[in-house]
């Protein structure tokens, strides 16, 4: 019988410039809440959330990193072992978008080769202050062959979708490396034994 409540554990990492809303994205996903006060993440934080995808219970362990430049050399050491990386920029902050290629290089240098990447243009609720057109985000994502979403942690746009899509992409290429034959889910019914002959 099921010994674990989940079948798989995925480690995800949020990276991007300081102030683009990485912590808010995570907070929205994990707690379905939003906090307007900006507290810069000085370190590495993480939260978990259990989701169900294709009948598999998956525990997402999501690491939130400090975005400030002075911590970059340290934060890159946390890339190792991450199965998915969400690279976040702020659509109202051109600089944070310009730095995308630098972040992508960082991933190439420090993360596992097969890490699943995703680009998020956050704060898409603030269209009046937009400086990065959606097309530019789509373009750079296309160039690097990664998925792209515009999100808003504040207005709860695409947050859940982004995480689930990333998890699905990881699931898709996760070989059944650890087949859990004992993880048979029996909570849903339908196990009639001797179910063969029907009569009348």
């Amino acid at each position: 019988m099921a010994k674990k409540t989940y079948d798989l554990l995925f480690k995800l990492l949020l990276i991007g410039d300081s102030g683009v809303g990485k912590t808010c994205v995570l907070f929205r996903f994990s707690d379905d809440a939003f906090n307007t006060t900006f507290i810069s993440t000085i370190g590495i934080d993480f939260k978990i959330k259990t989701v169900e995808l294709q009948g598999k219970k998956i525990k997402l362990q999501i690491w939130d990193t400090a975005g400030q430049e002075r911590f970059h050399t340290i934060t890159t050491s946390y890339y190792r072992g991450a199965m998915g990386i969400m690279l976040v920029y702020d659509i109202t902050n051109g600089k944070s978008f310009e730095n995308i290629s630098k972040w992508l290089r960082n991933i190439d240098e420090h993360a596992n080769e097969d890490v699943e990447r995703m680009l998020l243009g956050n704060k898409c609720d603030m269209d009046d202050k937009r400086v990065v057109p959606k097309g530019k985000g789509e373009q750079i994502a296309r160039e690097h062959g990664i998925r792209f979403f515009e999100t808003s942690a504040k207005a709860n746009i695409n947050i859940e979708k982004a995480f689930l899509t990333l998890a699905e992409d990881i699931l898709r290429k996760t070989p059944v490396k650890e087949p859990n034959s004992e993880n048979v889910d029996i909570s849903s019914g339908g196990g009639v034994t001797g179910w063969k002959s029907k009569c009348c």
Partner: protein
Amino acid sequence: MDQSVAIQETLAEGEYCVIAVQGVLCEGDSRQSRLLGLVRYRLEHGSQEHALFLYTHRRMAITGDDVSLDQIVPVSRDFTLEEVSPDGELYILGSDVTIQLDTAELSLVFQLPFGSQTRMFLHEVARACPGFDPTTRDPEFLWLSRYRCAEPELELPTPRGCNSAPGTWPGYATIGGGGSNFDGLRPNGKGLPVDQSSRGQDKPESLQPRQNKSKSEITGMVRSSTITVSDKAHILSMQKFGLRDTIVKSHLVQKEEDYTYIQNFRFFVGTYNVNGQSPKECLRPWLSDGVQAPDVYCVGFQELDLSKEAFFFHDTPKEEEWFKAVSEGLHPDAKYAKVKLIRLVGIMLLLYVKQEHAAYVSEVEAETVGTGIMGRMGNKGGVAIRFQFHNTSICVVNSHLAAHIEEYERRNQDYKDICSRMQFCQLDPSRPPLTISKHDVILWLGDLNYRIEELDVEKVKKLIEEKDFQTLYAYDQLKIQVAAKTVFEGFTEGELTFQPTYKYDTGSDDWDTSEKCRAPAWCDRILWKGKNITQLSYQSHMALKTSDHKPVSSVFNIGVRVVNDELYRKTLEEIVRSLDKMENANIPSVSLSKREFCFQNVKYMQLKVESFTIHNGQVPCHFEFINKPDEESYCKQWLNANPSRGFLLPDSDIEIELELFVNKTTATKLNSGEDKIEDILVLHLDRGKDYFLSVSGNYLPSCFGSPIHTLCYMREPILDLPLETISELTLMPIRTGDDGSQLESPMEIPKELWMMVDYLYRNAIQQEDLFQQPGLRSEFEHVRDCLDTGMIDNLSASNHSVAEALLLFLESLPEPVICYSAYHNCLECSGNYTASKQVISTLPTFYRNVFHYLMAFLQELLKNSAKNHLDENILASIFGSLLLRNPAGHQKLDMTEKKKAQEFIHQFLCNPL
């Protein structure tokens, strides 16, 4: 970070690191860090084996390069991992967990950090331990053969026929043996297992004794392999998956009403003692006439087959015959699916549901209990089917209890035996088996064989004729026994409105006319227990004449808990969310009173301390400053955190002091700008977050730590110079001669040296115990400031403090007065003054100048030895080790070298320069 990732990188295909934990291996007084990885290997036939891999490692293993395999301990049958508490010590919540690992060959003690990672690790290891089921194969650990390095000769007994020492694992550093049979593991020179066929032959003989041994040891082993939980709080902090699963389930049970509703289903329950006959007539009058199509059919038979064959070989054609007859007799308005058929000799129970309900029937289990001959045989007893219908658990029992009027106590006993011995397996083998009583609904039918007592046959027949069943019922043994609470406690039976169903002449409705002339009795009964059950009918069916019994039926409306899928999903989601929330709340988290530390104007040998407070949240945790990648310590050399690791109870505080102290080792690079007062510390919480602490500030360059030649080029006080100039001059290489540099013409010796020597010459020439009394720390700081600012006129300090400053100055020189390159030459000619002078003359100009200057000063001091009590030996001893320093490092004080250095200086003190 999860260190199993690092281990995984070192493993071969098919091997999987389930979990890793960092611990301390304790051997005697030695304490060594080890990474313990539980590695699983999946065998071809689907089973799996485990081994503990022990690694030495760098502090925080991130990649496979960080770990190296030290030892492998196969998780064999005699492997135990037990939590032990140190002798006589009270268990303290949050303290390290001491565990003892034992196999037949070795015993190791580890300390693992307190916390869920350790709990999870122990849990997983416990799960990995092979059980004691003798039917499963002993683990063989063939896959581990890969790890035996190709050591040339493996000293082992000959492969076969010889009971080799189990668990000898050649080639490993140390290998803890599992007590498995390793005969098949003999290396054939390449470290590969010998071919499988020969192995297969070996196995049975060698396996047998082991199993017997295991069996006899079971009780002891089970006890010792169980991880004792020392404290309840431990359980709470455990995040083991099984626990979480259990919580989800219990929450679902608690909240059942939120996502289920009661829906009535029609159950048909029938019982028929067929007296060994085959079906000769249609069963519809019993099963389907005059009722709506039931949702569920529970049909029981007794005395299906009275033949010896059925009794001894348990096989009878009657099963199929009656099954067919029942199937054909079911209500024609609906389609039914057979869920289960169970039979014990002549006692058979059939369960059908309407086809559309089949998807909601689950966890079907059937069992039998014989209570017949010798209390065990199947001529009497019961069979039962239990199942889950939607969210309600239902158990249907068909029993044939002991016969004969006087045997009512036997019948009571049979009932009790059936109740206690009827046990259904659960899908989760770790849970105890289910008994009949653990069901929401119990339907009990059968030939219970209770008779009518105290009335003679004629009286009974008369009452029946008058249809005075109520009077008759008063003499019914079952009624009497239930009233006396000796049987069927808690069960209900409907009113008997039909005449007794036993005993008739077969083929008729006439009472038994045989010799025995049995009194009529209500042998065939249906009872129930549970909530939301309404009996709609309870009757016998006189139309059926095949047997000496008449069949009985009852139809019930039973309220079953049906799941509303949408609400169920919502409830489950809520539970999962709340568990996630709990788990998130269980991640250690602290708050820091300060995260940025600025050390302004740091001076040489001036201790600066900044403190901050770690306030813990609600989860007990370990904290530690950890190394950044590619660094050997958690902070720069001039910094220290005190304490740098520790344990925090919930809601507690600890004050951490960051101590900054620049000494001779770190000063030069701070002067040159190669190093800065800048650092980031990583405060790590075990299985929790990391916090970054920034240290910044500026260092005030000082003559202390500056090279002699650099100081000679500084005509201005060092603090009056721009930082770039200081950096440039500090990085300037030592010149061997005056090479006409573009720089301002240098001084012959550093002015700071002159200032101190001149001060001493003027004030301390007659000072008693000069260089031997310690100075004052505060006065040293004053001297340092005067030298670095050039305010020499302000210098007012005790002679001893200035003398000490001079010694510290010489000690802080990155290149000693007698340059490292000349060190060995000096020692070699320490007995030869001419040669010694020759070596001195090869020193770079400024260094030679300084040496002569100091010697001249020391000779001056010696002229006053009557007053200052100094002699050549004292001074040679003090200055020998300062002026001559071993280039290989200052730590090793070789006495002969020290003596030679003294001799070398001594010559210059007693001879004219």
